[in-house]
Amino acid sequence: MSVSEFPRPHLTDSPTPEVLQTADVQQCDECGEPVDALQRYCVNCGAHRRDVADPAARYLSQASARARMHARAAAARTSARSARRRTLGRGTAILIALIPIAGGAGVLIGNSTAGTNAPAHHARATSQTTAAPKPKIASGATGESYVQQQKSLGSTTVEP
């Protein structure tokens, strides 16, 4: 089936206005055939004329630029996330490695503190014991004065 067999409702009857109105004739860069200034493709050799505005090409280039930008942003997000995860893992490893070190240091400090402070504490307790006032008891005390005192008060429960 050739192209001429297809029904062409308005292509030849009323062509695009720009086709009719352009008077500026240029030459194709590839084959040298005359082309309109607004012609996007050379109809003789099919070369794409880059300097002519082409909405489809513009849309495609913008879409590909957007896709590239999104891909780059996604890659940056992924790398940042993995870097954060790496840093977190390293921090956790350091923390876990520090636990036995901190425990050992605590044991050492505890031992050294127990060796130096125990005699001082003992001495302080001893000094406090010795410094406490002792009750003074008379050498010849028998408790008779207390019994007499109770008798004089008339107490009956007190027994000698």
Binding site: S2, R40, Y41, V43, C45
Partner: protein
Amino acid sequence: MRLRREPAPDAQPAPAVADADLLLQRERLTERFALMQSELGGLFYEMAIRDHVQMDVLIARAAVLQRVDEELAEVEARLAAG
């Protein structure tokens, strides 16, 4: 020049790892295919509105586009296998 669609060439079993290079190649081929297809449509439109349709030029462009299409199919098959 050949335009008749042939079965895809024997796809070699690709390595198990989906290679980043293959993904990049697929993206480039897809972009190229889309651009060339758009250009083919634009060229036909330009010829049609000027009543100057040249089938040999269009078919030559279509043949180039077909090669890109085959390359893209091969890359996608390797990616699917991997």
